[in-house]
């Protein structure tokens, strides 16, 4: 996630202030150094970092903490206010007819982002069309076309054309009945004058309502110059950050929004068309604070439940969890649903009490290990009989041996699965008293439960 490390290192530093009512200059000095370090490691522009840390330092020393506020909360508030100030709001994307132009360096992920945005608009009930104007890179047309098919949206391109401006103009005509036109362009960088003038021509032809700069989360200090040049030539209204599922922190995006006076619009975090989120400053800040992000989580859970439930031959209903016996079949469904929500660490990050501070304490590969375990578990379940899935408690030693042979997993893993199921069945029993399976209420319940048993039935897996 954007600036993940800033959250954890900041919490660490601020914890040292716990219990203090006054902050010394040395305290502030240390905190500011820590903030600088984190921001620099997140690829935020060096001069921007210095500006930001100067004003945090000044405010922390000069402003009197309001009565009753601890030193820690005081500094925390200043840091977040400054960050919110810098990040600003999310780029306004009204749900109405519009044309969006995408620009960016080669390989920043424009074509994938175009398809993702189109998918996003289509989910909001608008009819999007993608217009591919990259005549330079071999395979660009085919890639965009295939991505558009995956997103199930209209597409226009000309594999034999060599004039991007003409393709853009023809594309707008050909997809006239679409509500949203997303114009993809060839990758270019700010120092290529001929390509910059080309995109200016495209811009004046399609007259976009918004021009978005697509930025790789891994981009370094160069983000500043690139953003400025693109802003000078076509005017940047928002930034889409891509490849956030890697380890890069996306600080270049902060630089870019600062440099262009724009805001962050979308976040991309995977290769399928669904892997896109609108940038929500609130979510961003609360994740940074380690407060979780209930809104995103609920959305994901609902989407995942929908996908899992969509399969035919299915009489399974998540609500069934709330009554009757919790079987291995239920567990498998739950695992599938979890899988559909996306990478575990992304999901965990959104659970209150699980993200932020608590994630810091888990070993780095905890999520991979867990996902690996879940995969093994599902292989094991494939080797079980219908009866065993329904009545896991009846599985004896000889059956364990048979399942081990059948699934290629160790007997120990199978026993782990059975233990896990037992634990989850117990947890579920506790929830059954709660009435209907309203996810959000369930999450809240867990949060109040101290977060320690959080993650619900999967708590024991970590």
């Amino acid at each position: 996630m954007v600036l993940d490390d800033l959250g954890s290192s900041l919490r660490g530093t601020l914890d040292k202030l716990r219990g203090k009512s006054r902050i010394s200059e040395e305290d502030v000095d240390e905190i500011v150094k820590e903030i600088q370090r984190s921001l620099l490691q997140a690829d935020v522009d060096v001069s921007l970092v210095m500006e930001l840390s100067d004003s945090i330092e000044e405010r922390a020393l000069e402003e009197e903490p309001p009565g009753g506020t601890s030193a820690r909360d005081h500094v925390l508030r200043i840091v977040y206010e400054e960050l919110v100030d810098l990040v600003g709001d999310s780029t306004e994307i009204p749900l109405e007819n519009q044309t969006i132009l995408l620009a960016g360096l080669q390989g920043s992920g424009k074509t994938t982002t175009a398809a993702k945005m189109a998918w996003w608009f289509s989910k909001k009930g608008l009819r999007p069309a993608i217009i591919q104007t990259d005549t330079f890179r071999p395979g660009a047309y085919d890639q965009a076309k295939q991505m558009a098919e995956r997103a199930e949206v209209a597409f226009y391109g000309d594999p034999d054309g060599d004039d991007p401006v003409k393709i853009a103009r023809d594309g707008l005509d050909a997809t006239e009945d679409a509500d949203v036109h997303i114009v993809d362009t060839a990758g270019r960088h700010a120092l290529e004058d001929d390509l910059i003038s080309e995109i200016e021509d495209i811009e004046s032809t399609v007259e976009p309502d918004r021009s978005l700069l697509v930025l790789d989360a891994a981009i370094g200090q160069g983000a500043k110059d690139q953003a400025r040049e693109f802003d000078d030539s076509i005017g940047i209204d928002g930034v889409a950050i891509t490849k956030l599922d890697g380890t890069a922190k996306g600080g270049g995006a902060l630089t870019a929004v600062d440099e262009t006076g724009s805001t962050i619009a979308f976040l991309g975090s995977g290769e399928t068309v669904q892997d896109i989120e609108r940038f929500e400053p609130d979510s961003f800040i609360s994740r940074l604070l380690g407060m979780g992000d209930l809104k995103q989580l609920t959305e994901r859970v609902e989407r995942a439940m929908e996908e899992t439930g969509l399969k035919e031959d299915d009489d399974w209903d998540p609500e069934d969890l709330m009554k009757g016996e919790f079987t291995l079949k239920d567990m498998r469904k739950q695992m599938e649903a979890m899988d559909n929500m996306g990478p575990l660490d992304q999901v965990m990050d959104m659970i209150p009490g699980m993200g932020g501070g608590m994630m810091d304490q888990l070993p780095d590969d905890a999520m991979d290990v867990t996902q690996e375990r879940m995969r093994n578990f599902s292989v094991i379940m494939d080797s079980m009989t219908e009866d065993e899935l329904e009545n896991p408690r009846s599985i004896g030693a000889s059956q364990v041996r048979r399942i081990a042979k059948g699934s290629g997993q160790s007997e120990e893993t199978i026993r782990e699965l059975l233990d896990q199921h037992k634990m989850m069945a117990q947890t579920m029993k506790q929830f059954q008293g709660m009435g209907d399976g309203d996810m959000q209420r369930m999450m809240k319940q867990m949060q109040q439960g101290g977060g320690g048993g959080g993650g619900g039935g999967f708590g024991g897996m970590f």
Partner: protein, 363 residues
């Protein structure tokens, strides 16, 4: 590329020299060491006044407060032998400036710290004779520190291709969108120009449009492409290409792979499998020169999954920083082989660390 770094390095050199000189001269006059240095003192002072304030001021302060304390005895004793010692405190200011300069150039933080440590170790406590030029001292330290991180081993890609038994198999790895496919096309052109025959293998069976992209390059270059349909096993594609090369006396197999983020353990396992089954002669990691702090993470992860022999940095023409080159070669211990400098087939430059450092330190 590297323009920004070059300016900043020269600033550091001036600052560090300044500090060392001032320090030396100050001691010099304190101890009334000789008339011939009087002129130098004046000169140094004048310089100090000229130089941009930020860097010079803090160490001037540090120096005043420190020169009388801890370091004094050692300085005095060295002075007795006609030498002077550079104090750690004296260098703090310039080193801090250098650190920021390196970070501004996208050198990864831990790598930057190592460079600083090395310079500090080289310079601090260094006894030098009055006659020795401080400038040479600082420059040597800087050069050594830079070379030690960039010039990692003597692997020369083109020599390796020339010497290897044919067919030579080279597999390219890296994250999405760094320019692996374009780089392969450029390298194919370069090898063909050098008289080798080349076959391309599209191991990117995942990305939409990957086959079409490489096919078009193959057509433009007039080389054979081995590909399977989308969704196939990348290992099988490269394996087939090697078989083809053996049967048709082709010299070099260049195998593309799908871009993948180093955090995707499934895809990284796939890469490890390809490495195991095909056992390519060389594995080249491709990354973009514009990458920032994260460049070291991914280089390390890719090196772990399928050990790399060198790196090619693309989009060097878009980047004035160049720090990724320093970080990546340092963290992998493998050299940068080429720089991609444009979108044409000939836009591939051999990377020469010595020449780079010379260029960086040139006046």
């Amino acid at each position: 590329m590297f323009d920004g770094l070059k300016d900043k390095l020269s600033n550091f050199r001036e600052d560090a020299e300044e500090v060392a000189e001032e320090n030396a001269e100050e001691l010099d006059s304190d101890e009334a060491a000789g008339a011939e240095s009087e002129a130098d003192v004046a000169e140094a002072d004048a310089e100090a006044a000229d130089v941009e304030g930020e860097a010079a001021e803090p160490e001037a302060e540090a120096e005043e407060s420190e020169s009388s304390s801890g370091g004094f005895v050692s300085k005095a004793s060295s002075l007795a032998r006609g030498r002077v010692v550079i104090d750690e405190e004296d260098l703090d200011g310039p080193l801090r400036e250098l650190e920021l300069a390196l970070l501004e150039s996208d050198v990864e933080m831990s790598v930057a710290e190592e460079i600083l440590d090395q310079i500090r170790a080289d310079l601090v406590g260094e006894e030098r004779k009055f006659t020795e030029s401080t400038g040479a001292l600082v420059e040597d330290a800087l050069r050594d520190a830079l070379l030690s991180v960039i010039d990692v081993n003597g692997f020369d890609f083109e020599e390796a291709i020339a010497d290897a038994e044919k067919p030579v198999t080279v597999v390219f790895t890296g994250v999405n969108g760094v320019g692996k496919t374009t780089t392969i096309a450029k390298l194919a052109r370069r090898l063909e120009d050098q008289g080798y025959s080349v076959v391309l293998a599209n191991g990117d069976t995942y990305r939409a449009g990957a086959n079409e992209q490489l096919q078009e390059h193959a057509d433009n270059l007039g080389v054979k492409l081995i590909s399977h349909e989308q969704g196939g096993d990348p290992t099988a594609v490269v394996y087939d290409a090697v078989e083809y090369a053996e049967a048709n006396d082709v010299d070099v197999v260049l195998g593309d792979t799908a871009g993948r983020l180093h955090t995707s353990s499934g895809l990284m396992d796939q890469l490890a499998k390809l490495d195991r089954v095909v056992d390519p002669d060389y594995t080249v990691f491709v990354d973009e020169a514009v990458a920032g702090q994260d460049a070291v993470n991914r280089a390390r992860e890719f090196d772990d999954a399928a050990s790399i022999d060198g790196t090619i940095l693309t989009m060097a023409d878009a980047d004035s920083q160049g720090g990724a080159a320093i970080s990546v070669s340092h963290v992998t211990g493998k050299p940068i082989l080429f720089l991609g400098t444009g979108q044409g087939y000939d836009d591939l430059q051999k990377f020469d660390p010595e020449a780079l450092v010379d260029d960086l330190l040139a006046d």
